[in-house]
């Protein structure tokens, strides 16, 4: 319990530090929101008036605390570009990106666990070697590239989905998941390849351990040893990696959204950065930070349940 408390404190502290950086970043990079809003029509007077209106003339420290207070109370402010509250703007988008991330993560687990175990079972065979070579290749292809290939093959040639014709969940649930299938797979493939590699090598090294010999000597079948003993011990590094992967997937989905024309957070984030729509950018980055930290937090806690020998201090 103390461990959890301690972690929670670190959690909050990390978020605070990130919030300072997020805030500072946009104070430092060139380009003022008013420049973009006024474009080439800007005159010093107009800029000044708009800055005043947006509250940008207050001292930075004051503005930071105003923003922080709003953030904590769930008031993320008004978007400069869209004339609507950031909450409203994000509500629809976050769900789409989250759905894509979760679907992709499930795919990673479904693809990589059976494969990793299978390859560990037949480690060093010819099939294993060939597959690991192939695996290495898949691992090194960036998701957006896989995405482009997928749109071409599955969208244009096989016509399994219509690139560019995103379907909202509210309109057609099956269509929504159907549209997300290929983008999710495009992200999942390279990630799966990495998980396969880690799981396989972790299991292969566990297979050298004494307890494995003991388990065999008790007459367990090969599969049973793998499943009941080796996997359990081999999984710790994999869980750590999966936590990182989940975050990676989230980041990758931002890029994949561009390729598949999915109106999620990614589009909005990029558009808002270009437009210096600070309330939107800051909120999205903070949301991402919360997700990253939460996932790692959960991963830390989960070790204990996977391996009771681990003690929290």
């Amino acid at each position: 319990m103390r461990y959890v408390l301690k972690k929670a404190c670190v959690f909050v502290a990390t978020l605070l530090v990130i919030s300072v950086f997020v805030f500072l970043a946009f104070q430092i990079i060139p380009g003022d929101p008013t420049t973009r809003m006024l474009g080439t029509q800007a005159t010093p007077e107009k800029v000044e008036a708009l800055r005043e209106e947006l509250g940008l003339n207050a001292p930075p420290v004051l503005r930071y605390f105003r923003w922080l207070k709003g953030f904590v109370t769930g008031d993320f402010g008004m978007s400069y570009s869209y004339n609507m509250p950031v909450n409203e703007l994000l509500s629809g988008k976050l769900g789409i990106t989250a759905a894509l991330t979760v679907l992709s993560f499930i795919m990673v687990v479904l693809i990589s666990f059976p494969l990793g175990i299978l390859l560990a079972r037949f480690a060093h065979s010819l099939t294993d070697r060939l597959f690991m070579l192939f695996n290495q290749i898949v691992m090194s292809i960036p998701p957006f590239f896989v995405g482009i290939i997928f749109t071409y093959i599955f969208g244009l040639v096989l016509k399994l989905f219509t690139p560019g014709e995103f379907i909202h969940h509210a309109d057609d649930s099956a269509g929504f998941w159907g549209y997300l299938f290929f983008p999710a797979l495009a992200i999942a493939l390279p990630k799966s390849a990495m998980v396969v590699k880690i799981l396989r090598s972790s299991m292969v090294s566990q297979l050298q351990e004494d307890y494995v010999r003991t388990a065999f000597s008790r007459g367990n079948s090969h599969w049973r040893v793998l499943r009941m003993h080796v996997l359990r011990n081999a999984i710790i590094p994999v869980v750590t990696f999966l936590a990182v992967t989940l975050v990676d997937i989230f980041a990758a989905s931002i890029i994949i959204e561009q390729v598949f024309a999915i109106p999620g957070l990614g589009r909005l984030l990029l558009g808002s950065i270009t437009g210096r729509d600070l309330p939107v950018v800051q909120t999205i980055i903070m949301i991402i930070a919360v997700i990253v930290i939460t996932v790692n937090f959960i991963a830390d806690i989960s070790y204990k349940y996977i391996d009771p020998r681990i003690r929290f201090r």
Partner: protein, 525 residues
């Protein structure tokens, strides 16, 4: 984060910014070969039309950027926004695809002899999208709002010289100027909105389409307005899908998710195949290496002229778009036929030897090196910069390309004028020669190249106060000649603009300004 070429998309997006303002944008694009070709009224001239138009259908159009600046017709920042809002709002007059101003909400206009007063007779029975009939009061409100009467600044630059807007009876509105300006009519294309309304809150105009809905960074839907006073649109609705990535926009065309996309690159068009009709126009902008005339070494006219001889425009056009595009020699694009001076295109022949000679005369026998700032969101400008750098290398001048994002470009280069050279496209938000040429007067707020010439300033003053159209045109041509002779900038081209339509869609027409007129687009059988 890097995406696969997000060229088009972003590009546009941002770029477009230009618009109303003044223009400089990196990317507007838009238009017109139709216009330059001798095919006056024809959409068909391009082979765009196959089959008979049918009424109805839902058209899906890909655009690269959301309308994230505004829906206010008097406060449009980006060209991409203007392009969409053109279908929703109309002014007293509106531009047609030949570049003429034709009556819209007004039925006729009478310009006083002195050129300082415009009397508009309103058209009978023009309806707003909310069902109300347009009254003189609405017109007075809209024009006063755009001109900033009662406020300290006009919403639309240039309209500040309007001193009063009065309804003399129910059908007549008189706009009075503080000084003669026969070009003011072009600014009176500003959208007419209901009296007292705030267009940022309610999007109500009189155009052929009415606004239905939007989802930020996803789509904008407009619908045919049944009570439109003029020629009704063919299609029932238009859905603009915002797709920022260049690859994705091409895939979406091929997959059938989109029917029409403008502002494509040659590479994108080459991927499309036979199912599409491609129209070839120009963007109505002047792409150039804009030089900061106030800093070394570009404050020396010899240096500027030397570099002008060192650039081979044809090579740039070949490299960028397989030779498409139109060479320019001064700050005017060819679609602006009335003012364009074709002879200036050849003012500086491509002659590296002469360039070296001129550089030596100017005191740079060994050349020099300088930084060229290029907005990173518009691939054609970046590609151009690479070719230019090669060409200049040949005469011993090394140009370092500095990529910056659009925001930075706006604040540092455009507004801050803190640069040596930059490559962008400059357009005219309004269809006036003045919009292109005023920025080069010595004290113009948007004279980002710091060009300064007493002769230019005098000629410009004479041009704008001139009330005779022919004489004014000559003066505007003279201004372009001065810019060319002084080599104020290294003029390159008006970039090509490619529009792809699915077979079975027709009617798209280029305008000499940056708009997409959806009311003329139709499906065929």
């Amino acid at each position: 984060m890097k995406f696969p070429k997000r060229t088009l998309a972003l590009i546009l997006a941002v770029l477009m910014l230009t618009a109303a303002l003044s223009a400089c944008s990196g990317g507007k694009q838009g238009e017109t070969q139709t216009e330059t070709d001798p095919t006056p009224q024809s959409g068909n001239a391009e082979g765009a039309n196959i089959g008979e138009p049918v009424m109805g259908g839902d058209l899906r159009v890909g655009i690269a950027q959301d309308l994230d600046d505004t829906f206010d017709p008097h406060n449009i920042i980006s060209a991409g926004t203007r392009e969409v809002l053109f279908n929703i709002y109309e002014g007293l007059v509106k531009p047609d695809n030949d570049g003429n101003l034709v009556p819209a909400v007004a039925e006729s206009v009478d310009i006083s002899e002195a050129g300082d007063s415009f009397t508009f007779t309103l058209r009978e029975g023009v309806k707003f999208h909310n069902g109300e009939t347009v009254t003189a009061e609405d017109v007075v409100y809209s024009v006063s709002r755009a001109a900033g009467l009662g406020a300290d600044k006009p919403m639309i630059d240039g309209m500040q010289i309007i001193t009063s807007v009065e309804a003399t009876d129910e059908k007549t509105v008189v706009v009075t100027l503080g000084e003669p300006n026969i070009e003011m009519l072009a600014l009176l294309t500003a959208g007419i909105i209901p009296a007292g309304s705030d267009p940022a809150v309610e999007t109500v105009g009189t155009g052929p389409f009415k606004f239905v809905s939007r989802i930020p960074q996803e789509s904008i839907v407009i619908e045919k307005f049944d009570e439109y006073w003029g020629t009704p649109a063919y299609v029932d609705s238009v859905t603009y899908k915002i797709i920022d990535s260049g690859e994705t926009i091409v895939m979406s065309l091929k997959s059938g998710a989109l029917d029409l996309v403008a502002h494509l690159t040659s590479a994108q068009v080459n991927e499309l195949g036979d199912d599409f009709t491609v129209l070839d126009g120009t963007m109505n902008l002047v792409q150039a290496v804009y030089l900061n005339n106030a800093v070394e070494p570009f404050n020396d006219v010899k240096v500027r002229q030397a570099l002008a001889h060192a650039i081979d425009r044809q090579l740039i056009m070949d490299f960028l778009a397989e030779g498409r595009g139109a060479a320019v020699g001064s700050s005017m694009y060819p679609a602006f036929e009335k003012y364009f001076v074709p002879e200036l295109v050849d003012e500086y022949s491509y002659d590296p030897e002469l360039a070296k000679q001129l550089l030596a005369d100017a005191g740079y026998p060994d050349g020099f090196s300088f930084d060229c700032t290029v907005p990173s969101n518009y691939q054609p400008h970046i590609d151009t910069a690479e070719v230019v750098a090669q060409e200049l290398q040949a005469v011993g001048v090394s140009m370092n390309i500095k990529l910056v994002d659009w925001e930075t470009w706006l604040s540092e280069t455009y507004l801050g004028r803190n640069y040596q050279a930059t490559i962008v496209g400059v357009d005219a938000a309004m269809m006036t020669a003045r919009a292109m040429l005023e920025r080069f007067t010595s004290d113009a707020g948007n004279n980002f190249v710091n060009f300064s010439s007493a002769e230019y300033d005098e000629t410009f003053a004479a041009a704008i106060s001139c009330t005779d159209d022919a004489e004014q045109t000559e003066l505007y041509k003279k201004l372009q000649t001065i810019l060319a002779e002084e080599a104020a900038n290294l003029y390159i081209q008006d970039l090509c603009d490619l529009v792809a339509m699915r077979k079975g869609v027709g009617g798209y027409e280029f305008y000499p300004i940056y708009v997409m007129d959806m009311s003329k687009v139709y499906f065929t059988n």
